[in-house]
């Protein structure tokens, strides 16, 4: 048996094994890092979602409170206690906006953007001074 050939083979084997360990290790660490990032992103999303839910709940609460103080009874009482002397409104004077007012205002503001008349492009001859 050729000893030096065996040692060289084992040396090579060790180097390859170490290389493989480093390679698989880096893949492993990479995977762990990736999964950590995924979990961080997922938890951030969860936090944001729960924050959105909380805001939505607050909005619902405020909407309900506004509705409770806008009942005809409450408004008439207020009119009387503040001595405003306001007359009861007519049906067509009352308009409730159920849709998102921001979207409605944005749509109103941007309505003209696409309807604006297109200005013709005038090309002048280059190089003349």
């Amino acid at each position: 048996m050729n000893k030096s050939a065996t040692s060289a083979f084992i040396n090579q084997l060790l180097v390859y094994t170490l290389g493989m360990l480093v390679f698989t290790g880096s893949i492993g660490f990479g995977t762990v890092w990736l999964r950590h990032e995924i979990s961080l992103a997922a938890n951030r999303n969860k936090t944001l979602q729960s924050h959105l839910d909380e805001v939505q709940r607050r909005l619902d609460e405020v909407t309900a409170e506004i509705a409770a103080v806008q009942t005809p009874d409450a408004l008439i009482r207020l009119n009387s206690s503040l001595r405003l002397g306001l007359d009861t409104p007519r049906q067509e004077q009352i308009q409730y906006v159920a849709a998102d007012p921001e979207l409605a205002l944005a749509a109103k503001r941007n309505a003209g953007v696409f309807l604006a008349e297109v200005q013709p492009v005038v090309l002048s001859r280059a190089g003349t001074r």
Binding site: S7, A8, R35, R57, A64, R90
Partner: protein
Amino acid sequence: MSKGFASNCRMVLLATGISLSFGGIVARLVWLHVLERDQLLKYLDQARRSFVVENARRGNIRAARGELLATSRTLMDVGLDPHMLRPEDEARWPELARLLGITVEDIRAAAAHRIPEMSDDDGRDAKPVQWVKLAEGIDESVYEGDPARQIKGIKDLKIRGVYGNRVYRRFYPQDSLAAHVIGYVNQEEEPAAGVEHYMDFFLRGRNGWRESERDGRRQELAQFRTREVPSVDGYDVVLSLDTYVQHIVENELHIIADEFSPAKATIIVSDAHTGFLLGLANYPTFNLNEYNKAPLNSLRNFAVADVFEPGSTFKIVAASGALNERLVTPGSAFDCGLTDIDYHNRHLHLPREDHPFHELTVAEIISHSSNRGAAQLAMLLGDQRFFDYVSAFGFGQKTGFPFGGEVEGLLEPPKHWDGLTITRMPMGQSIAATPMQIHYAMGVIANGGILLRPQLFREVRDEHNALVFAFSELPRRRVISEGTAQTMARLLMGVASSEGTAPEAAIPHFEVAGKTGTSQKVIDGKYSTRNHVASFVGFFPASRPRVVISVIVDDADAHCTGGVAYGHAVAAPSFRHIAEQLIQYLDIKPVDPIRSYGEIAMQTASRR
């Protein structure tokens, strides 16, 4: 050639060591993933698997103009764990009590409640109390505080052991407004009555869910979410009711209740052309947010669930039928002084009149509300034809009001009539009807001869306010011709005139058309002279009707002069109050004064 750094022996040892290590890892993996797999998975499932239901938000119920009538909101049930409390936190108990609206003594009592009351003598199964409720239905802003406005909440007090559980509750911002229509959702989150129950399919939404895992602190590990189905919020249901009209109606019921203390009362207001209900209220009523404290009797929707003899309001049927069949004209005269009459070879006794009459025209029969005149009009039609008109006007059948336990009323076919029925039914006896049936029967005249179905729903909209479904008017059938309806409208104007039975209902220049009713109640099998149902059912302006209004008051006799609750005294003034407010709110324009048939007939009589 270099020998290398390792001897053969060392290399073999190293290789063996590495192989054994890998072999050990492989063996452990086989053990965990193959042999013990089922048991470990079961344990993992129990310990880490999390199945979270995401509740859909229940849709809102809105009035015609968009006002919220019912909505969902989160509230907190706040309690404490007696074993977690620290003595150093006691200084903050008064502030906690203030925020919860309870006393410090209540907190002290809850804190002392450490062991449950024993159900058995030895108390072997007794576990320590982990949560004692302090208050329920606390606003989330009170619990969480509001950092933007620097308002501190219960959470900010940082009292260890005090925490709240979030619960979803239905909230009715208008309290008792339209209570019998809206209905309610009970403590088990089940819709129990009204629109809440009937439109539950649209309102409910669809719950979502997600499968996930949780850590040792039972916090969800969001990265391990495997499957997720998002929730779909419920749709908003828009009713035809107008909150201001409803307020007018309920306010009027309060006035009636204060003045007459009736057993019950109902007011219905609808659009004359479409049949859409604008207001519907009953007395007694209840607060939707405290439905569980309301007496059972106040939960009934009398407008559809109770019947009574309609009395003189029913005379519109015989008169409309006779006019529609061209058997009479408004000027045709009848001897209303007769006490007996021959009919189909039978000698019949005619009903009693409140006032003695002699010869009356059809217009006067209506305006003076003659019982004998109405009986003679029905006799002209005959049993079967009169019955057909009664049925065509919607009596003896459900109107189609979608909930509230609607009943059909009582209407017997002619083969079951006794000899007197043809003389009694035209004046509103021998028949029982719901207020809703009477209201829509009057609606036939108001809208040109067509019987409409009560329509309560306008639209269904999604959470982005996009239209999902729109409801329209629902005509049931033509009952009388348009011409007959117009003639009847003119005749009914005579009722609310100085010569009619209800001048109290008149509004100058607004052509009020209507009919009074004062029906005796049957008590112990006999018509009572001390218990009546007073009603006024009408519409205006007669030449171009806008609204139909019914006011029906049951058993208001005790507080009426003479001990009898007449329709003109109890119901007609309320009709006028409501109509006057609707004129302003709905911007109903006056019409040029035109003479009613009653006035024409009176003028003719005076010339004679």
